[in-house]
Symmetry: C2
Subunit: 339 residues, 2 copies
DNA sequence: TTGTACGCGTTATCAT
DNA sequence: ATGATAACGCGTACAA
């Protein structure tokens, strides 16, 4: 590997001069500069970044910790991060926590010893130890996907309470009288708890009957199973809110097997506005989350924080918007349907 | 930031001793070791990796260049890469080429100056300049998704010719007599050209009529449009091969509008075995590609190459396997259907 | 304008 | 078993 010293020797100048040319600094004779630059070009030389980092005490690198990449939302956010990071001439160091909280802690430490300038953490779950590690991180941390501002950690996330409320009020407005909720356990704060709470508040406000199924994992199959569970007891809803599009897809399948057609006998709403919404039969109405945009903004905010003075515990909350599609409809208004 | 010297001072020993403890090297008195280790733990110290790299002349880092992350296949492969990279105690430097060939070239250079130990490139397209850059890379390069072994570059990819052939022969075996092909332009070598060629060879072998539509982009909508184009001329196929699942989804929609039911009047096969296959109506038969597994193997091979002696221009080709689902069926065997 | 000399934090060599 | 010291490649005061 070539070094700055090699180039200096070849050019018959000192290392300092080469360094100046390399970093386009003033104070070098034009002809000397040209000569050195030529040498640099033709020998395909690039400065050793480890040495550079060691000296500069920073790395122009942002660390990203994800729970898993094979998720549409995660992939979209990471895409957003990396777009911004690259336009800011920084690099992306990606780490995979494999859904393990403990691994996340370790990754934070590794990233710090790597000397990254900032860290973006996509949170799946957390515990007290992780919070501590996060707070002790030398590199500024940005939490994405959950609100940890109570712990003094800058967070950006979607307003899941509002999404639940939005879905609930949309269903009641449509005239639904008998609802079903398909959700995941409340141990998942954002998807499990917040979306549920928002929905409950909307439903209670309208004082409408509702059946709650909250034991799904995130698979389509589990949505199908949980919906079946309720349907098998003879419960016949005219409105369903599933906390993710995939669960909604499973629910629609279960409904169909019981002779209920989504968008006709029963209105169905999901969350995420995944591509699969458009291929479903009927196309699925959903609360739209713009993950790409959120990713971009999260990265922008972090980088701005790095450059200006770091403020603490900021909160940025994004709101989903309702994407109307055929599944959000009732053929016959239940109130009129007295047979 | 703490350094090894700080710890040494606190412990009342020399830097060397701390270094030995840190790296779990022998030759340290047990009590001293315990004391130093305690200090390291409680002060949350981790060695500066830039300094380490400078000394070691390597970075334990693999660079990954992707064309875009918001694609199931890419995300799955990157997930595979990162899993392996982490179990090998290395780091992942992620770069986004945004589908631009030129950017890919630049990224290769940047990664080299970063001193990465190896580079994985997910290829979308390429030109001569990129090939040159790839060949000149100091860090070993592994090409994923296309076969560039002719240029002396180690490549792992799916055997797309075989996938096309597999789809074609499955349709003819089912008894189809009138086929339709929904594809993308041949400028895309893997998806556009190879899958087409394999399919053509299978169809020609059986000497069956086929209509070729090859101007889709990768959107569901374009699959719908191109299928419509053929259907509007009155063409009524009893078997369809779409080169991606998404295109197949669009095709099924178009077929339905013309009164043709997939899995009954016409057999349909896609490629990729995307999750959407299972939510479609009917569920879509597809040539299954295990992107996660390929990602893992690609990373393993690269890392093995780094450690053993680098061999050149290796080729690893993976085969898709047919995933049978309801869309692959004909209610009435065409040959018997003489009305 | 140019060069000299030192320090960044670590590991490895060589004494002790 | 432990410590002093050099070296990795770069940037930068400071001197010339």
């Amino acid at each position: 590997m070539k070094t700055i010293a090699n180039i200096a020797e070849m050019a018959g100048v000192s290392k300092s001069t080469v360094s100046r040319v390399l970093n386009k600094r003033p104070g070098v004779n034009a002809t000397v500069r040209a000569k050195v630059q030529a040498l640099i070009d033709e020998s395909n030389f690039t400065a050793n970044i480890a040495a550079k980092n060691l000296k500069a005490r920073n790395s122009d690198t942002i660390g990203i910790i994800v729970p898993l990449l094979t998720s549409k939302s995660v992939a979209a956010m990471v895409q957003g991060f990396s777009e911004i990071i690259e336009t800011e001439n920084m690099q992306t160091l990606l780490m995979n926590a494999g859904m393990q909280v403990e691994k996340t802690s370790n990754h934070i430490k590794t990233l710090n010893s790597k000397g990254v300038d900032g860290i973006i953490v996509l949170m799946a779950g957390y515990n007290q130890e992780l919070i501590e590690t996060l707070k002790q991180s030398a590199a500024p941390v940005m939490i994405v996907g959950q609100d940890l501002s109570l712990h003094g950690l800058t967070s950006v996330f979607f307003d899941d309470y509002r999404s639940g409320f939005l879905a609930g009020s949309n269903l009641t407005q449509l005239g639904c009288k008998k609802l079903m909720f398909i959700g995941v356990p409340q141990s998942d704060v954002a998807v499990g708890r917040q979306r549920l709470r928002g929905f409950v508040d909307a439903v209670d406000l309208a004082n409408i009957e509702c059946r709650y199924q909250t034991n799904c994992d995130f698979s389509l199959e589990s949505g199908y199973q949980q919906a079946k569970l309720a349907l098998n007891t003879g419960y016949r809803p005219d409105g369903v809110f599933a906390v993710t599009d995939r669960l909604a897809a499973g629910t629609i399948k279960a409904l169909r097997e019981c002779g209920l057609v989504a968008g006709k006998d029963v209105a169905v709403i999901g969350v995420g506005d995944d591509e699969l919404c458009t291929v479903l039969e009927p196309p699925l109405a959903s609360v739209h989350y713009d993950y790409l945009k959120m990713g971009k903004e999260a990265a922008s905010v972090l980088i701005k924080q790095l450059r200006d003075n770091p403020s603490e515990g900021l909160t940025f909350s994004y709101q989903g918007r309702f994407a109307q599609r055929e599944s959000y409809a009732l053929d016959v208004h239940p109130a009129e349907q007295q047979e």
